[in-house]
């Protein structure tokens, strides 16, 4: 897809608007939904938004590197780490998260060991690891639960996430870890970009791909682990990749995608956390996922250029233009063959020639004032005749370009007969073609 500076700027505008809309949710929720931003809700919303930013940014890389399912496996794999850390150190958030990170990390190694040393494919390896680690986590949690340890009550929140569990010290920790992650990302931006889009090229240019990939994966694991409290092990992957998928629809540049993804992530995380903090019946993780998914649906549908709506509109427009062009050509040829520019062409003749699409074309032509209806048939107007002649002229030039283009060493352009050849080729080339045309005539 062609990129030009104007489009770039318009995406920045989109990012700005999105960020403004996300911020507007705060007064909106206060006034319309009647949310009271007391200390707890503020903390939870801030924590949710921060986590959304961290996972949104790193999720972009997971999406682009086609590692979405790895993210799924990784987040499931964190569960036994949480349980073991709890057994060792009790309910200490930092330790629990380190445990989760280590468990995910071992999970990755296990997946890689299986794919390297057996003939099992990566999907099977991920399935095995995901379920085994998850089962281990469930077994350990059941053991902790059965032992009636009173302080384990909060541990279950790691499965579905519980925003209300977030306190101020957690927010500070998230902010600090997030800052470290972003600094790393900023320092290695170029390298990460390269291994994301063209790892072979990066390797050939002497970058240590394995080290860089491991580092990037570690950052992703950190994002997953941080988000576990909020979204839970089962749904964390959604929070990781949904903002990235949505952002991907709006832009073709990595920098913009990452920023947009951060905005989307903050929105999903913040809104999800607020909703579930206000209505404690609804678990946080699922709420965040549903919010994030709505952002994805809106992006898939309406993102300029790529969105389904625009694709549909464009397809319709193309069909109409194509039909109009063809019908105009048919009428013109009919006129030529009868040697009478004012002749009335019966509609049935056109329909027999091209089928029902003729009506679409005639409607468009009539709208443009190229044809008029004369009792059951159609006649070209002066403007229509001009347009038809110009089109015929254009087609002749294209024909000549196709035959003699190479011979005359004319500049190479893609043949697109819908377009005016004079706009695509330089003047001297057009002159040559016109000479040929006159010679032929």
């Amino acid at each position: 897809m062609p990129q030009n500076p104007t489009e770039d700027r318009s995406v920045w505008l989109v990012i700005g608007v999105m960020a403004a809309l996300a911020l507007l949710f705060v007064p909106f929720s206060q006034i319309v939904l009647g949310v009271n931003y007391d200390y707890t809700v503020r903390t939870v919303a801030l924590g949710g938004a921060l986590l959304g930013v961290v996972s949104g940014v790193l999720g972009c890389f997971a999406v682009l590197r086609r590692q979405s399912l790895l993210g799924d496996a990784l987040s499931h794999a964190a569960l036994p780490g949480v349980a073991i850390a709890f057994l060792v150190a009790g309910r200490e958030l930092g330790v629990l998260l380190i445990g989760a990170g280590v468990a995910s990390w071992v999970g990755v190694q296990f997946i890689q060991a299986i794919t390297r040393t057996t003939r099992l494919k990566q999907d099977a390896a991920m399935g095995i690891t995901l379920t085994t680690w998850f089962a281990l986590g469930i077994a350990l949690l059941a053991y902790i639960q059965a032992s009636g340890n009173a302080s384990q009550a909060g541990l279950n929140t790691f499965i579905f996430g519980q925003a209300a569990a977030i306190v101020e010290s957690d927010v500070i920790m998230i902010a600090v870890v997030g800052a470290v992650v972003f600094i790393t990302l900023g320092l290695l931006w170029k390298e990460f970009k390269l291994i994301t889009f063209d790892p072979e090229f990066a390797g050939a240019n002497g970058f240590h791909i394995t080290v860089l990939q491991t580092l990037l994966l570690t950052l992703i694991v950190i994002a997953i682990v941080l988000g576990l409290q909020l979204a839970g092990v089962i749904l964390m992957v959604g929070m990781l990749i949904a903002p990235g998928i949505a952002a991907r629809q709006w832009t073709h540049r990595l920098g913009q995608m990452v920023l947009l993804s951060a905005v989307f992530g903050a929105f999903a995380g913040g809104v999800g956390a607020i909703i579930s903090a206000v209505d404690t019946d609804v678990p946080t993780g699922p709420t965040i996922i549903v919010v994030a998914f709505s952002v994805v649906v809106i992006s898939l549908g309406f993102a300029p250029g790529r969105g389904l709506l625009w694709t549909l509109l464009r397809a319709r427009q193309d069909r109409r233009r194509f039909a109009a062009q063809n019908v105009l050509r048919d009428i013109y040829l009919y006129n030529l063959s009868h040697d009478d520019p004012d002749i009335v062409v019966p509609q049935q003749f056109l329909v027999d020639l091209r089928g029902s699409i003729v009506r679409t074309g005639l409607t468009a032509l009539e709208h443009n004032g190229a044809v008029v209806r004369v009792n059951g048939g159609w006649r070209l107007t002066g403007a229509g005749l001009q347009a038809a002649e110009a089109d015929a002229h254009n087609q002749q030039l294209w024909d000549l370009y196709r035959v003699y283009g190479d011979e005359l060493k004319l500049p190479l352009v893609a043949e697109d007969r819908q377009k005016d050849i004079r706009a695509l080729l330089p003047e001297h080339a057009i002159e040559r073609l016109e000479d040929l045309r006159e010679g032929a005539a």
């Binding site: 590692q67 057996t118 379920t131 281990l136 678990p283």
Partner: protein, 495 residues
């Protein structure tokens, strides 16, 4: 369903007494093991084909949608149709089966739109469907059978408690209507609270309701003392019936369509060309996977069930190259997982390792105070045993195992070293370059350590392939023949 259960029970009663049968069905361990084994067998059979087609994670996707299907069907049944909540209802199975097929179609559609890559589509679809299901459960369902915990791990340990009673003798169904003399009627004031008056107030209105009216099955009637003679009943766990039928269906499916499935899995294009319909077969497979996932949901939850589909076939895949053998080995591994898993949940691994001892050892060694008794989730433990068996297959598989691979690599390295050394000696011995053959400097020509050369030479001498004479290494006649033989066979042979 009920009629089939009756038939099975009558069949079983030919072999065992009623009391023993009831004792068996009332034994949590027996029911959990049989149920686990049934899930494992059907999961492993279908999972084998999923694995061979590279569709293992489709079972993941399906199990997530199936949850949504179950929850939606459950809500429609209980809220809209006012049916009693029953997780074993065939309608739930039909609804969820449809949901499973819908997932497959949907992911294919998303993929075809080209906007989102397949992995991202799946990675987004799993959590979304699951999230919606969880929100519905949390918000609208207060029934004990369907809560967040059962979604996670299922209730295989209490499957024995949810039974249908089948009566064979003294069967008397009792119906109590409000007119019945046995009916107990209670009066309740209908407008006392609204008007703020006491029931004695003359304005109070009463409604009468019967507290024990309804239909009593023979077993229930006996329990509340409505009949005098004890009916001869058998209590059949419902989950066993559902899962048993699904297992039979699965076995029938893979047996009858064995040839077609085999062909479509290994060479879909050929199957198409020969006039089979591999596409239709794929959907049939997906329907079966959905059905089994629904049937297993009650017992093992919607996430652990994936393990029953993936792990046993993966282990079998490392043990054999033949599809027919794989279809035998995978269910055996799954069944072993189900059998030993129950023990593991109670702290005993294969009867060899006792987790309580390990916990005690950890507590004394590290001075921590972990809870001393291991008592854990049964379904998760079944999965863990399967995972252990998978690791065992990975390490010890005769052909593809880590150990076998190490041994094979070592042997290849040895053969290569022998051939390089003997080739060197052969070349120089032919033209009499004795400078190249000195025993104490031979290692330099290969850039080897002296020790490595010594070991290689010792081995070759023991095999009577070379001899050392006056510090010269020379080939024996036997060695000469060996070199000529492998030079004939090797690709880089010189004229």
């Amino acid at each position: 369903m009920y009629a089939i259960e009756s038939l099975v029970i009558q069949f079983l009663l030919n072999f065992v007494g009623r009391e023993e049968l009831n004792a068996f069905f009332r034994d949590p361990r027996a029911v959990a093991t049989v149920l686990g084994a049934l899930i494992a067998i059907s999961g492993a059979l279908l999972g084998t084909y999923l694995l061979l087609r590279g569709m293992s994670l489709t079972s993941d996707a399906i199990s997530h949608t199936v949850l949504l299907g179950i929850v939606v069907a459950f809500l429609i049944m209980t809220r809209l149709l006012n049916q009693p909540p029953d997780l074993a209802s065939p309608w739930l199975i039909v609804g969820a089966g449809a949901a499973g097929v819908a997932t497959v179609v949907l992911t294919e559609l998303i993929q075809r739109s080209g906007l989102v890559k397949q992995d991202a589509a799946l990675g987004l679809a799993f959590p979304l469907l699951f999230a919606v299901a969880v929100i519905l459960v949390a918000r609208f369902i207060d029934d004990v059978h369907l809560d967040a915990d059962s979604v996670m791990v299922g209730e295989i340990g209490v499957a024995w408690a949810n039974t249908n009673s089948h009566c064979f003798e003294n069967c008397e169904t009792v119906v109590i209507t409000p007119d019945d003399p046995r009916a107990e009627v209670s009066r309740q004031c209908s407008n006392c609270r609204d008007l703020g008056i006491s029931p004695r107030d003359p304005k109070a209105e009463f409604i009468e309701s019967c507290t024990n009216c309804g239909e009593y099955s023979p077993a229930q009637a006996w329990q509340v003392g409505l009949i005098d003679e004890e009916p001869a009943t058998v209590f059949f766990p419902r989950a066993l019936a559902v899962m048993g039928i699904l297992t039979l269906l699965t076995i029938g499916f893979v047996t009858i369509l064995y040839k077609e499935l085999k062909l479509a899995s290994f060479d879909s294009a050929l199957a198409q060309a020969l006039g089979f319909r591999p596409g239709a077969l794929t959907y049939a497979l997906m329907v079966m996977v959905s059905l089994v996932a629904v049937g297993a949901f009650d017992a093992v939850g919607s996430i652990l069930v994936i393990a029953f589909f993936i792990i046993p076939p993966a282990a079998a895949y490392l043990l054999t190259d033949r599809l027919s053998l794989m279809l035998l080995i995978a269910p055996v591994i799954g069944t072993a997982g189900a059998y030993f898993g129950y023990d593991l949940a109670r702290g005993s691994l294969f009867g060899l390792v006792h987790l309580n001892d390990i916990l005690a050892w950890i507590n004394t060694t590290f001075g921590v105070s972990l809870p001393a008794t291991w008592d854990s989730s049964i379904s998760a433990s079944m999965v863990l045993v399967m995972a252990i068996l998978f690791i065992a297959a990975w390490v010890f598989s005769p052909r593809y195992g880590l150990v076998a691979t190490l041994i094979r690599r070592g042997r290849q390295r040895r053969v290569f070293a022998d051939q390089v050394v003997m080739g060197h000696i052969y070349n120089h011995q032919q033209i009499g370059e004795t400078g190249e053959l000195a025993a104490d400097s031979l290692h330099q020509h290969f850039d080897w350590t002296p020790t490595r050369m010594q070991i290689a030479l010792a081995r070759l001498r023991a095999l009577n392939l070379v001899r050392v004479q006056d510090n010269l290494v020379l080939l024996t006649d036997h060695g000469m023949q060996a070199v000529e033989a492998f030079r004939q066979n090797s690709l880089g042979v010189r004229a």
